[in-house]
């Protein structure tokens, strides 16, 4: 065997070696650097207890997966190195069965899978466990924005979801139109937002921070710009934020802003943005970070661009592009950005 191997190596080694080199080059070129800057791989940096349980399962499964993959790839390389034929070879021995081997390669996967199943049940119990006295927030998917209803606290907001740290949070996820999916990778898992159905997602975030996600069930034209931003903050900060949200928005302070308020209230804006649920409630708009579910950052310039040019910025959005004059626009922006 050894002698034949040596002979074969000269001609046969080329293919598997190329295969190996290209594979490893690929792996290292494509993912070497992002792995080192760990924050990019958001699914591997969970910040919730639920997310960590899932992460541990994923790591264990990935290690086993990699081992299995290398066993198979190793066998492929081995047989290609050792059993290459050439023209004129006689036919090999016609072996077609080996009961012992077949039992081994049937039973080992069965055992691995049985183990994974038990592990899976354990993880699911951890993730699904209902906490005592959670903060309940209703998350409603719309084409193409998220509405956050703090029903116990009696206010509704959009754009960013604020949650307290080290406190159990229960998200009640649903939709008013088509199916969406609420996915913030660092929170650890996702649930679909389905019209006519409410899904529950338990979260206990243990690290304060801003975590971004996105709608992950295709929901129509602007699916890509239905992004999610979760701001997890210590309980006292969260409570302060809640108190601020419960207050009515401040009265406009400047003449320009007052003019903006008049324009806002006398134009089509109010029909969707005030108490209709068809578009985000704009009370406290000035304290939000995003416009259009993540398509623009909330700056006065971007807001002006958005109001008159929705169809350029987010073509599928249900809001029409307006045709305000520059002075009207300035007034509107001053009013809205003042709604802290």
């Amino acid at each position: 065997m050894a002698r034949r191997t040596a002979i074969k190596l000269c001609s046969a080694a080329r293919l598997p070696r190329l295969l190996l080199v290209s594979l490893s080059l690929l792996i290292f070129s494509a993912c070497g650097s992002p792995f080192s800057s760990g924050s990019s791989l958001t699914t591997l940096v969970p910040v919730s207890t639920q997310g960590r349980a899932i992460y541990h399962q994923f790591i264990v499964v990935s290690v086993i997966s990699t081992l299995v993959l290398f066993v198979v790839l190793g066998l492929v390389v081995w047989v290609l190195l050792h059993y290459r034929g050439k023209p004129g070879d006689s036919e090999p021995e016609q072996v077609a069965n080996n009961r012992a081997l077949e039992i081994i390669w049937t039973s080992i996967p069965v055992l691995i899978l049985a183990g994974l199943f038990v592990f899976m049940v354990h993880t699911m119990r951890t993730v699904d466990a209902s906490p005592k006295d959670p903060v309940v927030i209703t998350v409603v998917g719309h084409q193409w924005w998220w509405e956050y209803q703090y029903r116990e606290q009696n206010f509704t907001t959009a754009s960013e979801l604020h949650i307290p740290v080290d406190t159990p949070v229960t998200l009640k996820i649903t939709s008013v139109d088509v199916i969406h999916s609420f996915w913030v990778p660092q929170l650890g898992w996702k649930q679909d937002a389905i019209p006519g159905k409410t899904n529950t997602m338990q979260l206990t975030v243990t690290k304060a921070g801003t975590y971004d996600g996105t709608c992950s069930e295709f929901c129509g034209t602007e699916h890509a710009w239905m992004r999610i931003r979760v701001i997890a903050e210590p309980l006292d900060q969260f409570n302060a934020w809640v108190q601020q949200q419960q207050q009515p928005a401040a009265q406009p302070a400047t003449a320009l802003a007052r003019e903006g308020q008049q324009i806002f209230e006398s134009s089509a804006c109010v029909s969707c943005h005030v108490n209709s649920g068809a578009a985000p409630n704009l009370t406290h708009f000035g304290s939000r970070e995003w416009i259009g579910s993540g398509v623009l950052d909330n700056t006065p310039a971007n807001l002006a661009r958005w109001i008159n040019g929705v169809k350029q910025v987010k073509p599928g959005a249900l809001m029409p592009s307006f045709n305000f004059t520059q002075s009207q626009l300035n007034a509107l922006v001053a009013y809205l950005e003042g709604q802290k």
Binding site: L73, E102, I179, W189, G316
Partner: protein, 756 residues
Amino acid sequence: MAITAERPHALPESHRAERLLEWVTTTDHKKIGILYMITALAFFLAGGVEAMLMRIQLSVPNNHFLSPAAYNGMFTLHGTTMIFFVVVPLLIGFINYFLPLMIGARDMAFPRLNALTYWLLLFGGLLLYFIIANDSVPDAGWFAYAPLTEVPYTLRNNVDYWVLGLLVASFGTIATAINIIVTVIKERAPGMSIRQLPVFVWMAVVTAFLILYALPSLTASQIMLLFDRHLGTKFFVPSQGGDAVLWQNLFWWFGHPEVYIMVLPAFGIISEVIPVFSRKPLFGRVVVIASGFAIGFLSFGVWAHHMFAVGIGFPAELAFGAASMTIAVPTGIKIFNWLATMWGGRIRLTTSMLFAVAFICEFTFGGITGVQFSIVPIDWQLTDSYYVVGHLHYVLFGGTIFAALAGLYYWFPKMSGRLLSERIGKVVFWLMVIGFNVTFFPMHILGLMGMARRVATYPNLPWWGTINFVETLGAATMGIASLLLIWSIIEGVRSGKPAGDNPWNAWTLEWATTSPPPPYNFATLPPVPIRSSRPLWDVAHQAQPQTTSAQQGQAEPSALRAARRSTTSFEERTPVAVLGMLALISSEVIFFGSLIAAYLEFRFRSTSGPGPASLDVGRTALFSIALWASSITLIVAERFLRRDNRRAFTALLCATIALGVIFMYGQITEFSTMYADNIKLSTNVFTSAFFTLTGFHGAHVVVGLGLLILLLGLTLTGRVSHERHPAAIQSIVYYWHFVDIVWVVIFTIVYLWNVL
């Protein structure tokens, strides 16, 4: 495709036109197979262009190369095209061409039906693309989740064309499945037992059964969607009591077996290619076949693993997770069996074998990530991300397409009589493998980074742009490889080296005839004596003792004889047409099953408006008795026909028709009374499900009545008799009984239940 260049004189124009026309009128399974493959190739180009447009759009962040609507259209068309009009027709093309050859048959069991199925598929595909002329592209994704596809959210008729195109193609595909099953049962060469069938043929049979029991669910759900959109039913409209998740259940009942419809024939191809180029019999042949059946069987119990984020509940998630994990076992067995086949062989790395080896590597990777998705919590995190996009392409491209390319390089010489260039083949192979991995491996990383699938663009987050750009380069490499492959095929057809009958020294029956085979396939049947699953090997090694066949797991001769005897008697009992009808009926069971599932879903839902209480059970029971009585009269009629009592037969046939008409009268008056009471199809979810279910049954009764009236007419004019047309008569009788038995189930669930 035949080598005709040696003909002494150029053909006159009229002959050439005739030869082109022959491709339209042909019923030759080989020509139809080639038509399937050329069609698949054409759609592959379309799907590839769509993929390239998507990759260009995604190559940099915040790109405006395509509008969001156009991007959504591209991924919907890409998915639909590649699944329904590339992979499936390509594999059916291989099956069409080689299945009859491999079992030593002259053609498929139903050659004209075979031609029809091809044309249905082609026109289904054209219907899907026809809507582009109307400046509107289906854009709800290939699984078209309701309610996005419902009227308020999709106002243009693009979804309707998506539905119609797939409906037409599905009818063709179901008919092909029936044809495959009947062909394998009835058309095997004399002396070929089912145990000696090549593994490719076995996998084709499992695939056919999957098509038969998976596709009707798609058909039923698409019909409900079409009704929702145009007739005002509420099946998938949650705001009016409908259920968005019902679509997903019905769709994935079809959709997951569909994955195996696309993968099992690939397993079959690999199980032919690897033994031949390793010069050894397939290791654990019986186990490989059995695991194919196990996969097919299990595939119907795992559909909800596409729905773990839907909130289907802890018990269901556990059950579907466990079932999905189980599929890894038979799949793993196959991979180890292929490796064991290569072990100790004399491997010849032809392009075909290279693709087969690449298949093992890529498919294993795709399978392993598949196991990861069967673990519910991992699925909660990674589903609908680019991790899934990577996974599914490893299975369908690295798996199925690589296997199909292995099959193409393996069988091209048989189809054309010429060899494909091995030199170009190896270039194609390396470009394909490198391009494939560069495109799809990084998708797993993007998934881990949180990139959701189906986004038209993405924010400029660290590394996202870079990785996406690399993927686009990989896709371009695959595009170049595809064009090189097509050029190589054209070159091969025109001026490839003559192949001879058996260039690979292979051992199944397709190599026992000329390349390309004559229209009648074989001069004699069987072309060579069939003593094992490798007839040509046996011919070449006649001198050797028969130890090999014993080692191949062939059972003891007595058991083999018994098996052969039992199949022979089954063959004798059941004519071709009756087998076809039985297969069709079993498929219809799933169609009605889907409608019944929808009815059960909504029976308890409608809190206001008409419900089960609005139905008149007693009245319907009376009319139902008429329908069931018609089955008895038909049985008696058939008895008389067998005794050649034509008068009694005619009289009882008339009675059967009359009873059927009475039943239909009952249904029509029931419907009209309800409509008069303002209980309509569009009233609420209950009436939607009720009218659709009973209405479709009524439509089946009408078709059955049509067949019975046809039979009566032919009997009266003396053009049909039991001696000459036993199969036709028996088929009609079976269909009528089926319609009656379905009504037993529907009557019990819809009517009887209300009074119990």
